[in-house]
Amino acid sequence: MSISKILLKLTVNGIARQIYVHPMARLLDVIREDFGLTGTKEGCGEGECGACSVILDGMLVNACLVPAVQAQGSTLRTVESLAGVDLSPLQEAFLHHGGAQCGFCTPGMLVAGTHLLETNAVQDEAGAREGLAGNLCRCTGYVKIVDALLATREGRP
């Protein structure tokens, strides 16, 4: 009765990985359980909250809505890739401005913010708010998150 697994090959945070998974397994579960990268969170399981935001082949996606079969051969970046020895400028800005409170939406928020910065998609506060509209935060009221994003964009603390 059980369906055979597929060999999923993808590059995760710069490292080639392969693993047997069910084709309809959610990418979110593959990331958290098979790769042990628990920085990516599940807040709703229906693509509403953005806590599971990851960058898949250069696109911002909700990992809870991607079946494993559709990640075949892809390049994946999770929150764990953002910091090197030092925090990334956006992470530093979150620390400075107080953009993280409980920390549960934070990984998804940072991944989305990083993607917005990398694609030069934010020109002003309204653009920052629109760009982050798929990432829900219940702690901050978004002010300090938006400030962190804008500060990073402008290269100021």
Binding site: M1, S2, I3, S4, I6, H22, P23, M24, A25, R26, D29, G45, E46, G47, E48, G50, S53, M59, L60, V61, N62, C64, L65, V66, P67, A68, V69, Q70, Q72, A112, H115, L116, E130, G131, A133, G134, N135
Partner: protein, 287 residues
């Protein structure tokens, strides 16, 4: 996660021909595009399907072709691609606005025009725009391809003309003449990332102070996205200076059949659909 991946299999064709062959051989396999609609009930354990046909990798379903008279979208054209296209900002502003109104960025990066249509939700954001721009759909099977007007495609709640062996392969939209009037407005419970309670799209061409052409379509007010043909009829050919608002509103009420659900009430939908029509006509009268 209440879905059961261990019970589900996925057919993974490498090209469109393979996909059509698999579609014909396994009509029970649920076509799966970007997953933004289907993965939600799947994860909630509410999707009965056990076999899926993965379309995501099919290059034949991608790409946007612009010719003199029309624009053709591969069925897997993403909302994000539509939203970013400079030509569409100018010629199909409703389509751009409705694509941007579909979820947020992460949804727009996976959600596709064809998937949105095939899913058949009456609350989908792009269908009213496609309806007012006179879109046509290419339905393809091993038997061949056929083009059908999008206005005829949906036949009821989550029902359509799509045969069990067919896939939506392309969407074709004639390029409207310059100088037309475009209107799109979505009413959700919040300003972004909301499922619509009512939406209304319209496209019109005026000449000599009269409405020469007019199409109005709505979402979330009927079992499927609909054209408001009664309201169109009441307004077509009429002078912009003396539009028969009351008659149009009355006709609109006969065009729609909203229901009460978790997101809103039939009463609210009727009232706001009328308000949107009036708002649209205010804009039209100023053109």
């Amino acid at each position: 996660m209440r879905g059961q991946p261990s019970l589900c299999d996925v057919l993974a064709p490498l090209n469109l021909d393979e996909a059509l062959a698999l579609r014909a051989a396994h009509p029970e396999a649920r076509p799966l595009a970007g997953g933004t609609d289907l993965m939600v009930p799947f994860a909630a354990g509410r999707l009965p399907d056990r076999l899926f046909l993965n379309l995501w990798g099919l290059e034949e379903l991608r790409g946007i072709t612009v010719s003199d008279g029309e624009v053709t979208f591969g069925a897997l054209t993403l909302f994000r691609e539509i939203a970013a296209h400079p030509l569409f900002q100018r010629e199909f502003p409703n389509l751009v606005r409705s694509a941007k109104a579909t979820g947020a960025l992460a949804i727009q990066s996976r959600g596709s025009l064809g998937g949105n249509i095939a899913n058949g939700s009456p609350a989908a954001d792009t269908p009213p725009s496609l309806l007012v721009y006179g879109a046509e759909l290419e339905l393809t099977s091993l038997r061949g391809s056929r083009w059908v007007p999008y206005a005829d495609f949906h036949t009821g709640y989550k029902r359509s003309l799509l045969a069990p062996d067919e896939l939506i392969t392309r969407i074709r939209v004639p390029r409207p003449r310059a100088g037309g009037f475009h209107y799109f407005r979505k009413v959700g419970t919040r300003q972004a990332q909301a499922i619509s309670k009512v939406s209304l799209a319209a496209w019109a061409r005026t000449g000599n102070g009269h409405i020469q052409e007019l199409r109005i379509a709505l979402g979330s007010v009927a079992p499927m996205p609909i054209r408001a043909r009664g309201a169109e009829k009441a307004l077509l050919g009429r002078s912009g200076a003396s539009l028969p608002l009351d008659a149009a509103l009355e006709a609109l009420q006969a065009d729609i059949s909203p229901i009460d659900d978790l997101r809103s009430s039939a009463r609210f939908r009727r009232k706001v659909a009328g308000n949107l029509l009036a708002d649209m006509l205010r804009g039209l009268a100023l053109v």
